[in-house]
Each structure stands twice: as C-alpha cells, then as structure tokens.
C-alpha cells in the first residue's frame, strides 16, 4: 500500500500557474466562520511562522510583504483528480485521500518498475519534476502507510515492520478525531507506542471503539477497504514505449496490438467487450481517455480498431499528443459473456453486419443518436414506446406482446409519425364532445371534412400527475391531410371543478 501526501498542493498549484518565480512568501486564505484565515502556506511562509489556521489579519500584521491568494477548493480537487489519473500508470487501484493525498494499492505492480523502492524513486522523480512537494510511504496497511507518509520520513518504506515504525509517531497519525487525541493526551498518552500494549477493554470503554479500530487497521489486524476512484476493469492490457508516440496511425496500431493481447484473455474467460476504454498517458502527465461502446460482445481486434477509428475521427478536439504518449492502456470497462462465434446460421451474417454498422455510427455520432423502438407497457400513446440506444437494446423489444394486445383489443389505427409532445391547437367543435369542425395548427387553418372517433384513452388516474382522459379523433382536412387529434378532458367533468378541455395534435397519418 502506498500513501502519497502532497503537502503543499494548493500553493504548488498556484506556483505552477505562474510564469516566473518569486521569492515572496505565499499563503492561501479562505473564510472559516467569519474570519479570513490562512489555509495553506508555502515553505518560505512556513519558515516565517505562518501556519494554516492563523487569521489573515494577524499574518499580515506579522509580515506585511506576504503574497495572499484566495483558496479555490474545486481547482485543488480537480488537480488531485488529474494526479490520481496520472497515477493509474502505476496501478489501477488508486483512491483519493482528500483533500491532499492519494492511496495506491501497488501489490503485484511494483515488479514492473523493478521493485517497490524503484517505483518510489520513479514516482517521486516525476512529481518533483512537475513541481510538487510530496512525501510518500509504502507499508503493509493503509493506516501505517498514511501515518508514515504524514509523520515519518519522506519516502519511507515500512513493509513488515509496521509496529516499530508506528510506535514513535504521535497519536494523530492514526487518523483519529482531534477531540479523541486531546483526551488521550490528557491522560498522558501521546505516542502510538503508548497504546499498543495497553489493555483493550478499558481503552474502548473510555475513548470509544475508534481508537482501537484505527490501531488494528494500521497494524493489519483488521481489514481496511480501499475505494478506488474508478471502477477496476476486468481485463486490461498496457504497453509502455521507450520513445513517445504521437501519430494517429501509431495509436491505432498499438490499439490493435493491445486488443490482440486482450483477445486471448477474453476467450479464456468466455467474455466479450461491451464497453472499452483507451487511456493514453502523455509525457507531461495528462491522461487522455477515449471510450467506445459496442452493441454485442466483441473480441475481434480489427473490430475494436474500427471503433477507435470512428472515435478518433469524431473527437471534438484533436488527439493533441503534445510531446507524445509514453504509455497506452486498453481496459475493458464492461464485459459480457460471449458465446463462441457461429458461422453459417441463416441471417446471422446480416445481424453481425448490422451490429458493426450500429457500433461504427454510435462511436462517431454518440450512442444516443442511433436508436431502436422498444414497446413499453403503457396505454398512453407517447409512453407506449420509447426509442432506446440501439447498443442497449438486446433481445426482446416487446413488439410481439404489443401485436398480441393489438389483436385482442382491435386497436384503432395509429399514426405513422408521432410528435415528440402533443402540440396545442385551437379547435372549434360542433357539439362539445364531438370532433372538431376546423382547427388551427402552426398558424395554418384546417377544415375538417371527415372524422373518426372518439377513441377514449383514460389518463393515469392512480397518479397525481396523470392528466385527464383523452378523446382521440382521426380527422382528414380538405386537402387530404390526415391528423391524429385529441381533446384532453371531458365536458362532463367541468361540473366537478376540472379545467376546461383543451385540444392537441399528436400525430400525422400517411
């Protein structure tokens, strides 16, 4: 377990944004209650005795020459997120330890860098080059690593000797609430070593269960879960490059190579790709992530390449390799059981071809633009069917049920095109409950020459937002245009205090 503490995150962020270096002490301030207080200070300011928690007025009185910048919590969080993204190059299990730390589960990953000490050196070197002050520690547990990073030597290594590393550290290194630490200090317990061998029952009775739980977690007697920032992909393939790459063809070629590696793993697991992501790690620490979805489980590297060809073509901003990418990772975000390929079943080829087409279009235009109609279990016309992303539609679309229902109840004709929402019209009817004589829709007046109906569709009376009953009419106007209109509300309900009925146009017939 690796704990990384960026102790000057906010001031480093501000210094990085500046073009030229200054030696003026810098403090970051924010409002706490009614007081403007220092929330972070750089090394120069700290040497002057300006620590976080000090009121700004007091700090200014002590040192009028300091540079003061307002805090920006969101920017700090975004910076931490991007550092977490960048740390994905070391391990897929990266958790944010807000506000200014990261936790990396590096078990099984360190050998890629030649060992844990080499990994620390690599990580530290890159952070230093980017201008971040850091301190990090590797230990067997999250608690011990955190304590060593925050209170021990920078870049310490404490695997297997957690208790001896923890013993001299203050109790606040156990991540206890300040009140608990203060009350422990009142009885003379200041170091972790002081409570390791104490009888457990009185300690819990007096200071609550937190103290021993944190201690057990730090010593590895109790399990502490790590919550990774991003879900862990079931299948991952990655490649580091000795020379950074930048051209699109190279990126696609490496995608195919990684997909080939994934293919055998996927075949072994009997899975196929439903959603896949390509992460490109730029040399300057920026990570580009490009995801693509598929409409059926895929394994073929060429088909995966075809998806990314469309994704790269559709990127709003170009790939922008900067000085090049030095690592690429292909991770399967969603895998689904994929039956072995069947060839030669009638119609199967066409379906596969259609799926490929849907995937290509979805990758370029966005999955929500390629849709299929799915029948829903509702009698309200606009809710009776929805257009779902074609990639998400699998198996039954409900139309066989709909046909059974239509034949059972002898459903009156439905329009060919349905407006997204019914449009209000001004209509004049001969008798209150009858079809309209003429109506005005989108400023054009239509004289009704023939009408069929009504077909009454009750509102959702069991719901508060159900709306009134509707009487649908099929009407034809003088020029032969056929419309589907309805009157929302019934005149007989006027007596019960309902609003006046209104007319709407809902669809057009051929």
């Amino acid at each position: 377990m690796l704990s990384l503490w960026l102790r000057r995150l906010s001031t480093d962020r501000i210094v990085r944004l500046r073009k030229h270096e200054t030696s003026v002490p810098l403090v970051v301030t924010g409002k706490r209650g009614n007081v403007e207080v220092v929330t972070a200070a750089d090394d120069a300011a700290r040497q002057l005795g300006l620590t976080s928690g000090l009121a700004l007025a007091q700090a200014r009185a002590m040192h009028p020459g300091i540079d003061v910048v307002a805090e920006d919590v969101e920017a700090d969080a975004a910076l931490l997120d991007s550092i977490a993204d960048w740390c994905l190059r070391y391990t897929p299990l990266v958790a944010c330890d807000r506000p200014d730390g990261l936790l990396l589960d590096i078990s099984g990953c360190a050998h890629l860098y030649g060992g844990e000490r080499e990994l620390i050196a690599d990580l530290g070197g890159r952070l230093e080059k980017s201008g971040f002050a850091y301190s990090l520690a590797i230990a067997g547990t999250i608690g011990a690593a955190w304590a060593a990073a925050h209170y021990g030597e920078p870049a310490s290594y404490a695997c297997g000797e957690e208790s001896s590393v923890l013993a001299p550290l203050p109790l606040s290194a156990l991540r206890l609430p300040p009140a608990t630490v203060a009350s422990l200090a009142r009885v003379g317990l200041k170091r972790i070593g002081g409570i390791i061998d104490l009888p457990r029952a009185p300690l819990t009775a007096r200071f609550g269960p937190d103290v021993l739980r944190q201690l057990d977690r730090a010593l590895g007697h109790d399990h502490e879960p790590l919550t990774p920032r991003l879900p862990v992909a079931p299948y991952v393939a990655e490649q580091r490059f000795p020379e950074p790459i930048g051209r699109e063809e190279d990126v696609l070629a490496i995608t195919v190579r990684l997909a080939r590696r994934l293919q055998s793993a996927l075949e072994h697991g009997g899975d196929g790709v439903r959603r896949i992501e390509l992460s490109l790690f730029r040399t300057d620490g920026v990570v580009r992530r490009i995801a693509a979805g598929t409409s059926r489980p895929l394994r073929n590297p060429e088909e995966i390449r075809a998806l990314f060809v469309e994704r790269l073509a559709a990127l709003a901003d170009a790939l922008d390799p900067g000085f090049g990418f030095d690592m690429a990772r292909l991770s399967v975000l969603v895998a689904e059981p994929c039956p072995p390929e069947q060839i030669g079943i009638a119609g199967g080829e066409d379906t596969a071809e259609l799926c490929r087409l849907i995937d290509r279009l979805s990758a370029r235009l966005g999955p929500r633009r390629i849709r299929r109609l799915v029948a829903q279990d509702s009698h309200i016309p606009e809710l009776a069917e929805t257009a779902m992303p074609a990639q998400a539609v699998n198996g039954d679309t409900g139309w066989s049920t709909f046909r059974r229902y239509r034949n059972e109840v002898d459903l009156p004709p439905r329009p060919l095109r349905l407006l997204a929402r019914p449009e209000p019209i001004e209509a004049v009817a001969e008798v209150p409950d009858g079809p309209p004589l003429r109506f005005r829709w989108r400023r054009a007046l239509h004289e009704v020459v023939a009408a069929e109906g009504p077909e009454r569709i009750e509102g959702v009376w069991w719901s508060e937002h159900g709306g009134p009953a509707r009487d649908y009419f099929r009407v034809e106007d003088k020029s032969g245009l056929r419309f589907w209109l309805f009157r929302a509300g019934l005149y007989r309900d006027l007596a019960h205090g309902a609003g006046a009925p209104a007319w709407f146009l809902h669809g057009t017939f051929a």
């Binding site: 066409d350 379906t351 071809e353 259609l354 490929r356 087409l357 849907i358 290509r360 279009l361 370029r364 235009l365 633009r369 390629i370 849709r371 299929r372 109609l373 029948a375 016309p381 009776a384 069917e385 257009a387 074609a390 679309t397 139309w399 709909f402 046909r403 239509r406 459903l411 004709p413 439905r414 329009p415 060919l416 095109r417 349905l418 407006l419 997204a420 054009a444 020459v449 023939a450 009408a451 069929e452 099929r474 034809e476 003088k478 020029s479 032969g480 245009l481 056929r482 669809g507 057009t508 017939f509 051929a510």
Partner: protein, 242 residues
C-alpha cells in the same frame, strides 16, 4: 491502346442502376411498372419529395411502402436531422406495424448536421446490412457530389436508397427517379390516398397517379374511384416505353 482506354472509361462511367441493374422493385401496379421498365431500380438513389411540409407524412408513407417491398421482412434504416424529428414527429412503431413494417427491424438515426446525415447514410448503404435506407432532409440544396456518392454506395451493396425531402427541390439531380408526393382526399374515410407524381425518370417517361392504400394487399394500389384523375404522361412522348 485507345480502345483499351475507351473500354476502361466506359467501365468507370457506367451509371449505377442503369446498365448493371441489380434488380427492379415492382410496385405491383402495371401502369407505373411499365414506365419504370419493371419497377424502381434497387441499388440506386431515388428522391421522394413532399409537395409541401404538411404533406411530409404522405411522402413518408409512400417511401415506407416502397421500402416495404424490398424484402419479405424489410430491415430499415431511417436517418434524419434532429430538427426534422422534432418538427414532423418520430416514426411511431404502432403505426409502422399497422403499415406492415416490423418496428423491431427499424434503426432510427438522428444527426445534428447535414454532413453527418450524408455520412451515416453512406455508411449504411455501403455495409448493406439493411434492405432500405431512408434519409430525411429539410429544405435546402444538396451537393451533387453527395448524391453521386450515395448512388455509388447503393450500387455497391444493392441497397435501396431513398431521399425524403420536405419540399420539391428545384435543383437538378443525379438520382434515378424523383417523385413528388402529396396527400389526396380519400373517398372511403380513413383509407390513405396519395397523389404520386413522377417528375424525373432517367429511364423513361414521367406521370402522375392517385394511389390508395389497400390494407388487404398491404400496398398501394391505383385508385379506381372516379376521382379527378391526373392527366396521362405526355411530357416526353418521343421516348419509347421499354
């Protein structure tokens, strides 16, 4: 040498759908089929325009009726701009089903730009996984090159390409046929009737017909009622009907 080049040139210039016809799609109406020498050619682009924006549903119905004849269970691809779906409504599955088109076989694509629409149409035509591709466009001219590309893509796979337009376009077109379709008053209330006008036909004369939807046949038939019928096709009498 020059002969060889000529032959190559001829092979390159071969207009899709005229010489190398991948099969015609008969309407089942002799009067129309003879004019088209067998029916609408597959593997080419046909333009179907509504007489006005209000008549778009009739034109769409006509296009769907044509698309329906491409296969026993036609697979349809309907590409349109967002605005078109918002203005004229989205295809309604229950209505399509009554029309004899299985809604589960329809893929609806909406795009933001004309450019994307043409690209999506071309991809769909080229892949040939569907039997018909309908592209719906609002008013505005289309690049002749784009139409040519669509025609070539359709010729490659033998898919029927239909361009549905809201207004009769004024521009010249390289499409095989151009139809102007509007709604017509029905005699039996509730039976759709359309007035279909063949205004451009690369293979022969043009004409106008009143068609009526027949539920029992599941297709348009020639309206037989004594309605004011359109004049016979006279515009190019010198052309022989094949």
């Amino acid at each position: 040498m020059i002969d060889q080049l000529r032959q190559r040139l001829q092979a390159l210039q071969k207009a899709p759908g005229i010489e190398g016809r991948p099969g015609a799609l008969p309407f089942g109406i002799p009067a129309i089929d003879t004019m088209l020498s067998g029916g609408l050619a597959r593997g080419t682009l046909h333009e179907i325009a509504a007489t006005g924006e209000a008549h778009l549903a009739a034109a769409a119905g006509f296009a769907l009726a044509v698309a329906k004849r491409t296969a026993p269970s036609p697979r349809l691809f309907w590409v349109s701009e967002d605005m078109a779906f918002a203005e004229s409504g989205v295809p309604h599955g229950a209505g399509l089903d009554a029309f004899g088109l299985a809604p589960e076989q329809l893929v609806v694509v909406s795009t933001t730009h004309r450019r994307d629409l043409l690209w999506a149409m071309e991809e769909a035509l080229r892949c040939g996984a569907t039997t018909a591709v309908i592209g719906e466009m609002r008013a505005g001219a289309i690049d002749g090159v784009a139409i040519r590309r669509l025609s070539l893509a359709a010729a490659g796979s033998g898919t029927l390409a239909l361009l549905l337009r809201t207004e009769p376009p004024g521009d010249a077109s390289t499409a095989a046929t151009r139809w102007v379709v509007g709604a017509a008053s029905s005699i039996v209330p509730g039976t759709p009737r359309v007035a279909a006008q063949l205004v451009r036909n690369r293979r022969g004369p043009t004409g106008t017909w009143i068609l009526e939807w027949s539920d029992s046949d599941g297709q348009f038939i020639l309206a037989t009622h004594a309605q004011p019928l359109a004049a016979p096709a006279l515009d190019r009498p010198h052309r022989q009907v094949a």
